[in-house]
Each structure stands twice: as structure tokens, then as C-alpha cells.
């Protein structure tokens, strides 16, 4: 069995999910089909509101709707949620702790749309925003199950969302859960934290390394904030040679920083190699090209593990591309032992 490829899971799933939730309304700023809610609009025209290409107004208006008992699900590109209208996000939504759901598409290098469309510092900014819950999806199962997670939070939620074609890395029966990491493989040599699209690369890297007798404890993160699952620190404590983080984001303020903070807060004294964008913007090109150019791929993860363990496996790009991937259920967590 290999991983399944799923096409646009959010489209129908969000329609089905919202059927019995009349408080859920959608706001769109001229990116309705681009944010995969065109069919949603046609299914629930009375619960869909176009506010035009005006994101500042959209976020403040969402705050007003939330005050009246509605649950606005803002759908647009991530950059138009946290960059352009940040003051509105902070003052009209986050400060009053309102249940607005900010569904941000096109994380990092997933779009060839260039610097204007690539959200590369969203997690850093929203992690620093009080009252925000910050979620990220890595596959179809998370895109589907993130709806229930966000719905269950009483305050504002940011979802770093995937669209279009994506793998199903995790079994359907293992939905995303708030502030709960997935331990995808066990190993005492290195502990690897990954999130979003880097998790697929991480799974390839971990499998290839295992065939070279290097055993990595792989922890997948879908809740960036809160980041309190005890499994996080336990997985760090068992890291023999050190810790690696891998994210489709700048290494400042995102997953790598969150991991570093935990290591420091708990006095664990582990080496950490952070894979991600290194204080740079990106430009418009294919995901494969950008992943290679900016070293956001399985090969970069292998090199980091080799550096920490002082080994040289000879694993090359060709080997990584041919690693058979299987849907990865959770292995036993430390707390379930």
C-alpha cells in the first residue's frame, strides 16, 4: 500500500461538515474559487458574503459577526490574512478573543505566485499574537479534520491550509487533534520535528536513513500554538545526537524557534539544526525547484541528521525519491507505553 493522492479534499468536505452548523458563515475577498469555497458559496448562498478585495474591512467585519454569535470562516491566501491586515487581525479579532477562523492558503513554497503570494513568516507572527491558536495541515486527513479542531476552540484560530492535489499521509481514522503531535517513527539517534509539506519529505528521509541503520524519532506537528504536548519534551530528551526541525517557513519564529524554546526552557542542552528559509524571501517558481534551491527537502533533512550523527550515508536524491511511502499511523507515544 502506498500513499493515496487526493484532489481538493476541502471542497466537498467543508460543504458536508457545515451542513448542520448554521452559525458557520464564510467571508471571501475575491479569491473564492482560489480558496476552494466556490461550491460552498453555491450550496449556502445565504451564509456566504463577498466583501470585495478589501481584507482590512473583511477581518474587522468578521469580528463584528463573531460578536453576534456567528462563526466566520475567512477564506483567502494566507498573506492577505496576516500581512496586509495585521492591525485588524490583532485589534478586531485577537484582542477580543473572538471565534473567527482564518483559513490561509498558499503556505511558503507551495505556490509559484512569487513573493507576494508566499506566506513564509505567518506562523512566527501569529504565534506571537496573544489569544491565537495556530494550526497547520500536512495532508488530506489534516485538511479534513482541522475543521473540527478549529471549531472546538473558543477563540480565534489560524489554519495554514493546503489546497489542490495532496497526499494522504495519515489514516483517516487518525484525525488531527489540538496540541497533540504525531509520533511517526521511533529512534534514539536523532529526533526530527516536521510540519506541513515538509513532513512528507521527512518521512522519506527517515525511511532512507533507517535502511542505513540510523534511527530517527519523527514527530509531526500540526498545532504550532499551543505547543504544550508533553510528548514534545519527552521526544527531545531521548534524542541521542540532537534535534532537527523542518518547516516550510523562515527558521525564525516558526517550528524551529518553538523547538529551540522548548530545549532551552527545559535545559535539555541538545544541538538543534533548523531546516527552513534562512532569512530570505523566495521567488516565483515551481515547488520542486524552490525546495531544492532553498534546501527545504528530504535531502536537506538527511544532511542535517548526518551532521548531528557524524555519519555519511551516501543517500542521494534518487534514493529519496524512490522511498516507498505508506500511510503512517501513529507509533506508540512515550505516554502510551
Amino acid at each position: 500500500m502506498t500513499t493515496e493522492t487526493v484532489v481538493r479534499p476541502h471542497v466537498q468536505n467543508f460543504i458536508d461538515w457545515a451542513a448542520d452548523k448554521p452559525e458557520v458563515v464564510v467571508l471571501s475577498a475575491d479569491l473564492t474559487n482560489s480558496a476552494e469555497v466556490g461550491n460552498w458559496r453555491d450550496t449556502y448562498p445565504d451564509r456566504f458574503f463577498s466583501v470585495g478585495m478589501a481584507e482590512q474591512n473583511m477581518l474587522s467585519l468578521a469580528g463584528g459577526l463573531a460578536r453576534e454569535g456567528y462563526q466566520p470562516w475567512v477564506h483567502t491566501f494566507a498573506v492577505f490574512i496576516y500581512r496586509r491586515p495585521y492591525d485588524q487581525l490583532a485589534m478586531s479579532i485577537a484582542y477580543p478573543n473572538l471565534p473567527v477562523r482564518l483559513i490561509g492558503f498558499l503556505p511558503g513554497i507551495t505556490t509559484p505566485g512569487g513573493v507576494t503570494h508566499q506566506a513564509i513568516e505567518d506562523i512566527a507572527i501569529l504565534r506571537a499574537t496573544p489569544n491565537m491558536t495556530v494550526l497547520e495541515t500536512a495532508d488530506a486527513t489534516e485538511v479534513e479534520s482541522v475543521l473540527d479542531v478549529a471549531h472546538g476552540v473558543s477563540g480565534p484560530v489560524y489554519v495554514r491550509m493546503l489546497r489542490g492535489v495532496m497526499p494522504r499521509l495519515f489514516p483517516r481514522e487518525e484525525p488531527m487533534q489540538l496540541d497533540r503531535v504525531r509520533v511517526l517513527s521511533e529512534g534514539g539517534d536523532v529526533t526530527l520535528f516536521s510540519a506541513g509539506i515538509l513532513t512528507e519529505d521527512a518521512m522519506r528521509a527517515v525511511a532512507a536513513l533507517r535502511s542505513h541503520d540510523i534511527h530517527v524519532r519523527h514527530v509531526h506537528v500540526s498545532t504550532h500554538k499551543p505547543f504544550e504536548d508533553p510528548e514534545i519534551v519527552r521526544s527531545m530528551e531521548s534524542a541521542g545526537a540532537g534535534v532537527v526541525s523542518a518547516e516550510n517557513h523562515v527558521i525564525t519564529g516558526g517550528l524551529g524557534s518553538a523547538v529551540a524554546e522548548k530545549i532551552a526552557d527545559h535545559g535539555l542542552g541538545k544541538r538543534l539544526i533548523r531546516i527552513g528559509l534562512r532569512d530570505t524571501y523566495v521567488h516565483g517558481a515551481s515547488r520542486a525547484y524552490l525546495a531544492r534551491k532553498y534546501e527545504l527537502d528530504a535531502a536537506a533533512i538527511v544532511r542535517a541528521v548526518e551532521e548531528l550523527t557524524g555519519t555519511s550515508t551516501g543517500i542521494d536524491t534518487d534514493e529519496l525519491e524512490h522511498v516507498p511511502l505508506q500511510p503512517q499511523g501513529e507509533v506508540e507515544r512515550s505516554d502510551s507505553l
Binding site: R67, Q88, P96
Partner: protein, 307 residues
Amino acid sequence: MTAPATDTAWVERTEAVATGIRRRVLKHVLDKGEGYMSQACSSAEWLAMLYTRVLRLAPVEAPLVTGEFPGVPGKDNPEYHTGAAVHGPPGPDYDRLVFSPAHYALSLYSVLIEVGRLDPATLDDYNRDGSTVEMIGAEHSPGFEVTSGSLAQALSQAAGIALGRKLKGEQGKVWVALSDGELEEGQTWEAVATAGFLGLDNLRVVIDANGQQCDGLIDTVSSLEPMRERFLAFGASCDEVDGHDLLALDEAMGRPSDKPHVVIARTDPVRGVPLLAERAPKIHTLRLGNDEVERARYQAAYEAMLP
């Protein structure tokens, strides 16, 4: 032609409230040495109109006595309440007021005291550490329902509230108090366009067009004219009136409309305290220094307002 006496019996009371606003703010400036005086001068009549004539609000049992700051909103602070408590319990037929120019807080607190919704001792807590009676009001401050001090966000938030109330079939209106300077923010026009597009006829706006902003005269900072035509072009209905003329305000604020309705109240930032004109154009705040002669003149102005 003389209007029937019953039609204008309210005027005397509304005038008294307007005078009371200026008097309380001037007293505060005399006591504390500084305050937002010109805003009270310009806004006193339309504020008095809102609270004595326009807003349909539930009665309150007694003037609200404010407590200590309850902490910011958050999941660990379920006790947080907004300053809308002074407006009485909300209901589908009651109006709401979203107050945008948060630096007018001193005037808003004063009108609430004048109409018996806020304890007169509240102003003792103004700008005191640990109190909710903040200098720039936030949503825990009396009279405030949203956090509006980052100007131009309140109109959009009010549009969201108005949309929600329409969806629920509520009949009450959502009033918004704006200042003219914040019309320079692009978000204001995004909000007006959206409110018109969404048909929010339950949204009503009064603008204190006093021609002043922090840097001085608006005409020296930017361009906002022709203001009425701009609102009409963006999809609202609009009246432009002398903001100190109670009868004109009454007609404009009460005008039925099938669109978002905007009342531009053209106001005078030194109305009722003409002494203030000597400091023009620097009248955004009034700070009394060590000039005893000037202080005595303001004291005399205050005493002239006493009933």
C-alpha cells in the same frame, strides 16, 4: 409657522445634556490640568441627541459603578465584560452604539453621566492606573462595545454586527460614531462600500466633522472633501447638517433610508468654550500650564456653564 409644543419639548433637555458634557469635561481639565476639550465642544450636541433622542436603549436600574480592570480578554478570563453594560441589556429591538474615536472617551463618559447611565464619580477614575475608565477607551471602558482606538476599524466591526443582526431578523439599529480625521483611512471606504453592497440599512453613522486632527486642521493634513458626495458615491445615503443645530440633527438622524445612512455633523471645535480658539490650531488636547491668568479665564468659563 410654529411647530406644536410637544414636538420640541425634548430640546430643552437635550440642550442641558449638551451643556453638561462641556461642563464636566472642562471641570476635568481644570482639576487634572489636561484633557480632550475640543472634542467635547464639537460633539456635545450630537452626543446628547444620541442618548436623549435617537438611541433606543434598555433602561438601566442604576448608574453603573465601574470596577477595577478585569484583565484582557482571553480563554483564562471568562469574567471579561464590555463597557456596553451602560446601555442596558441588549435585545432584538434595541439599538447599539459602536463608538469609534476612542480619544473622545471623556466626552462619552460625560454624556453617560448626564443621562444617568454612569456613576458621576466615574471621572475620578479617568486615566487612573488599574481602572477601566481609560483615556483612550477600549472595549471594557464604559460606553464602549468594541476596541476602536486603531481608527477606522469600528465602522467595519459595526457592519459585521449589523450584518449579524440582519441575519437574525433583529429590528434594532447599529449606530456608529465616527470622527472626520479617520475618513483618511482606506478601511473607512472599504466599509462603506461593503455596507452598501450588503444592503445594511440598519447601519447608521454620525460623524463629528470638526475639521481637526492630531496634526492640526484637516485641510492642512489631507483632503476629505467633498465629504457628502464621497459617501453618496460609495453607496450610502447622507445628510450634512450643522452639528450644533438640534432640530437639524433630529431630522437627519431620524431620516428613514434603505441604505446605510450617514449624518455629517459639521461642528465647531471651540463651541461653548471660545477661549480655546486662542490656542488654534493646536487644540487636539488642552493642557493648562502655569499661566494663572489663563487658568482663571477657563475657571470663569466653567462657572458660566453652571446651571
